[in-house]
Symmetry: C2
Subunit: 433 residues, 2 copies
């Protein structure tokens, strides 16, 4: 027999789990749209040369090969591993058809051709938003993207979100002020980026391999320990010497952004100076987020500001700011920890029973009247004993069971109550309760 189990790293949900995922998608999408983000979708497939144009990630790419190609020469194609590279190519391709600022959301699977290992997804959803504009982009956009991320995490109702902000200029400027040579700064950032994962001891060891003085190393680590509540950051900056103009500029950007975030989100925001984000294209604001009750789960959404989106394709300046929500990771967190109740296995509210096959046309036509009033309805596919049909409604979580015939009635499965009704309108008022 052929194998029937799924493939490791390619998650697959049961119907009630998929319904939960769809509900989360619905909430986040409604939020994104309420801020004017519009959906786009790009093919799953890009030219390999597009995917590798940043040079660093080629080892995670799944390349495609037509089984029947037989050596024909053809452009090399691969599956996208994130939504940022395809978005950049999209903006360049449709530059003259888009209105800027262009605010897009994008919900798609991405693929990483990693060696199979436990807990690592090789196919997963990302749910991104970005705002891009021509030439310059005001900090109001950073504030909006951070606010929307915070509101999205709140809308999921899976715990207390914590948004961890930092700024690349603040980080780089501070290191420069300490006298860290420019060439060593990327290495320092990459170590600080891993600080939470590897611990201070290991970070100190890694820093000791760089050509830095002891006091520099010490101050780099000390600086990373700062965690300042969003509401306190302004006074923190006023009371501290950041050591360089660039660092001051980065701090000022954060102050401006925090002033524009809705007040009710401020308690969820911390400026954490160890947030560094490995990717080298971030130039200002950086953000990570976690669920406070589940810090072990790591970042559930992250992003930042970049100064250059399309220069690989087009000689235009297009800065942007965006975040990516790790939807599959969040679903995994929810399912492992039972954070949300699962919906029923059926989207139906009503099951219409069928006494015998001669009654089926009447049952179907009754079902149609319910559907035309917006009530999702299933007519049972056979006509076994009514107990079996009620049992089916129980198993699928269909809350109301209708019996037709001389006396029409509806059974409310939650209470066991059975109520007769004469007209459809009586049934509707029951369903509306």
């Amino acid at each position: 027999m052929a194998k029937k189990k799924g493939i490791s790293g390619f998650p697959e949900w049961l119907p009630e789990q998929k319904r939960l995922e769809d509900e989360l998608i619905r909430r986040v999408r409604a939020l994104y749209e309420s801020h004017g983000f519009v959906a786009i979708e790009t093919p799953a497939v890009e030219l390999i040369e597009t995917l590798t144009s940043k040079g660093v990630v080629d080892k995670e790419i799944y390349a495609l090969r037509r089984l029947a190609a037989e050596g024909e020469s053809e452009a090399e194609l691969g599956l996208h591993f994130d939504l940022t590279v395809p978005f950049a190519r999209y903006v360049a391709a449709h530059f003259n058809d888009l209105v800027f600022p262009f605010k897009r959301y994008q919900l798609q699977k991405v693929w990483r051709g990693e060696r199979p290992q436990k807990g690592r997804f090789r196919e997963f959803y990302q749910f991104d938003i970005d705002i891009v504009a021509r030439d310059t982009l005001p900090l109001a956009c950073d504030a909006e993207v951070i606010s929307v991320l915070g509101k999205a995490l709140l809308a999921l109702e899976i715990g207390t979100p914590r948004l961890k902000l930092n700024n690349r200029k603040l980080l780089v400027g501070y290191y420069e002020g300490l006298g860290v040579p420019e060439t060593e700064i990327p290495a320092v950032i990459s170590i600080i980026d891993k600080l939470e994962k590897i611990g201070e001891g290991e970070a100190a060891r890694l820093l000791s391999e760089l050509p830095l003085g002891d006091s520099e190393r010490q101050r780099i680590l000390e600086f990373s320990t700062h965690r300042i509540a969003g509401a306190d950051f302004k006074s923190f900056v006023e009371g501290c010497d950041l050591g360089s103009e660039l660092a001051e500029e980065g701090a000022e950007e954060l102050v401006t952004i925090l002033a524009l975030v809705p007040e009710q989100l401020l308690p969820y925001i911390e400026v954490q100076l160890q947030i560094a984000r490995g990717l080298d294209y971030y130039t200002g604001t950086i953000v990570e987020s976690e669920i406070v009750e589940h810090p072990e789960f790591g970042s559930v959404g992250s992003g930042g500001r970049y100064e250059d989106l399309v220069s690989k394709y087009l000689s235009k300046k297009v800065p942007g700011v965006g975040v990516s929500l790790g939807l599959t990771r969040i679903m995994d967190l929810i399912l492992r920890n039972d954070l949300l109740p699962l919906p029923s296995q059926s989207p139906c509210r009503v099951l219409v029973t069928v006494l015998n096959e001669a009654e089926r046309p009447a049952a179907e036509s009754f079902g149609e009247s319910l559907r035309s009033e917006g009530v999702s309805t299933e007519v049972f596919f056979r006509s076994p004993k009514l107990g079996k049909q009620i049992d089916y409604a129980h198993k699928k979580g269909i809350p109301y069971v209708v019996f037709l015939g001389e006396e029409q009635s509806v059974k409310v499965l939650a209470t066991g109550e059975q109520v007769s009704f004469d007209a459809l309108s009586e049934l509707f008022s029951l369903l509306r309760k």
Copy 2:
């Protein structure tokens, strides 16, 4: 510069086109759910051995290869080319967690590794429904699937749907009754399946290559010309000799199904005896559909009944019936023929203008109050002259522009009318108009 254009065969829509696609998806999904179909999603990727287990379609498969695999041996993976094979694997994998009859819908991209050519999609959406059960499945399910396909095509509002039905037993039984040898029947079906595309002359030529008598060939072609309105099929069957029990059984199945389809759908249904469906797993009902005003576009949704879904994976009998809606094909039809108006480029109803940056916090907070009342709102990202901001709303199709300050007002772009308002509630009643 890197290439920015998309890849031939991998369609990509502009934001307003994607909004239209999302609206079509919303309508069809609502319809599917109103009948109790539940969403599932399977990975884009399956084992190649799963994909090729039917043996016929391997030449269209895209196989995956990890760019960084360097000769490690690993299970061979490929992208699914339809949603039926993954659905079969899914039902087998989760057999004990599913409640039967299992009614699922599935909206996913599929990939066909075809040689690039104009008008051929290599990545496209399918939007499938299937009903499967254990051991046997009543004809009421065939009727439901056909009804839902008809209602889905009506919900798209792109023209008059025509559902073309036939039945494999009717076809095979009629050929048997004519004396066509059993071994030649698949070849006959495959020729009849292409009849509409290749024309009667070419079909006659192909039939003449088979070991059939002239009168058999003639009667096969004659039989194929029958097109019977759904409402007339019963009397057609009563008045005609189908020549075998199997054919009679197939015809009776169609009569039963037609009696269960909602009356208002009957005018859209024709039994067309040339509908044959190439795929060999169909065993009873077969259905294709087209938009009457665009016959040149071919089938927009098709399917049928099969007796065996999971025997490749599991020793269970699981018959089913389903149809697949060609969503990308339908979108292409709509866009090429301007069949539906495109939505605006933004999901926002209101643009809040910003007089100067000092007013931004007040504007943001006003925007938040609108959003909390369910009104999607964008706050302009900069504060240039108001004319520029209004212009932006025009370009993105945002219908209302709000001006704050001492006197608050809203401009209705469609009419040019500008109305002052004191309280938010006044604005809401304006927006509700």
